[in-house]
Amino acid sequence: MSEQTIRKPLPTTDGDSQALWDGLKEGKLLLQHCADCGHVQYYQQSLCRLCQSKNLVHKPASGRGKIHSYSVVHRAPGPAFKGDVPYAVLLVELEEGPRMISRLVGNDFDALDFDLPVKLQTVKISDDVCLPYFSLM
């Protein structure tokens, strides 16, 4: 197995997502707010998903959310994650509305439950990348 295949996948930023990943390096989770219809989106794109307006403004999320669903991974998805298991993948519903895939900081799996409040904690995983994880309140 080559070095390349066991390295964790790092996000490859693009024109749509550069601001999100830059913001995370400063500890901020930037959401796109539509200045025309008020829709808030996490997934970064050039158009509002509701009204297709290009009038989108980045604002930092409060960092508060709740666990909509979760799954504790015991069998790693490939060699890169073998050292991490077990870990909890969270589907977090942010206070502002959007949902996002994230990870639980730590391994207090017994404390996990649906609709439990969580707060943002950015975690540096390489020189250039911080991921938005969440911790229990």
Binding site: M1, T5, K8, P9, L10, P11, T12, T13, D14, S17, Y42, Y43, H68, S69, Y70, S71, V72, V73, H74, R75, A76, P77, G78, P79, A80, F81, D84, Y87, V89, L91, P98, R99, M100, I101, S102, R103, F114, I125, V129, L131
Partner: protein, 392 residues
Amino acid sequence: MSNRSLRGKVAIVGVGQSPSGRVPDRSPLDLTADATLKALADAGMDKSEIDGVLTGNAFASSFHRFSVALSEYLNIQPSYSNTLQVSGATAAAAVNTAAAAINAGLADTVLVACGDSLLTGMTPDMAIRAMTESRDQQYEMPFGIPVANTFAMTAHRHMKEFGTTPEQMAQVAVTFREHAARTPGAQKTDPITIEDVLASKMVTTPYHKLDCSLISDGGVALILTSAERAYDYAQEPIFILGAGEHYSHEHIFLMPELTETGAVKSAQKAYDMAGISAKDVDVAGIYDCFTGTVLMMLEDLGFCKKGEAGPFVEAGEITYGGTIPTNTHGGMLSYAHPGIPAAWYHFAEVVRQLRNSCGDRQVTDAELGLVHTLGAGFSTQATTILGKESTL
């Protein structure tokens, strides 16, 4: 809605399978070609009659245009070809697309085939990696989310909202194992109990190893032709009565609701085209990548009410004598799961049931069948309704 319809315009006239399960040293193209030759023999057809080829892609093959590579391998030069990619939904999507192409005059006779060697052509880690690379590389994969995890989170929420239990999910695996035991060529035939499922290793909560589909090698081929030509061949034609698809999202976090999927709309479109409802269906092939997936599909396809699939399965409604005998070959959980080709077996089985050729696993008086395939964390959904001539 369009009033154009595929109802009764196209039939499946040939079905073939390569050996499946553990089939070492045979390439995905070899397995697919083997299945194709068997489907041609089943139909009593010469390969020169095939003028269309649709396939999915194979993880253990480097060809980007698998349908074109397969044509070359078989030395046929079709006038219509494509390699479809909507993950697990590809099987029904390919059948629907082939039927539409025939009905539109793009081809007369279309080979719809797929084969892969996930078990012996790749290491288990490569197989899983192939699956995970289908998740978004920015918003999902850096968090270590296997595709299994997207299905696990939907099942988990289903447990929370409707009180669905791990035992009820396990019953799906137990029932399909019983079905596989009656099916020649099934990969797993040893009986299992609910306790066995719950005692098997946890993969990603709430799914244990035995809640998850197998990893296999194998190829399957179907041959479709127009209703006018369908009686020229050796087998009873099985007609396409309805086709529906739905694509609701790409990312799991943009799925509108975790516990109600696009299968509702996909199935409704297919039922409307066929002029039937769920209660008319005699036998079903339902994509069973995980046990909980089947529960959610039983609800969304209309076989039981939302939230009631757990008790429905416990009451024996998805086996012989029940409301809707499902995956009578054993499904991806026990028959075979070579990746994208996996749901082709559901078609092969439902066609054989409707031909009344299943021997001691025959569903009595089966005339109307449904195949539902899905993929990518419920992102992609495709439904096909099939029927005997008597249902036209």
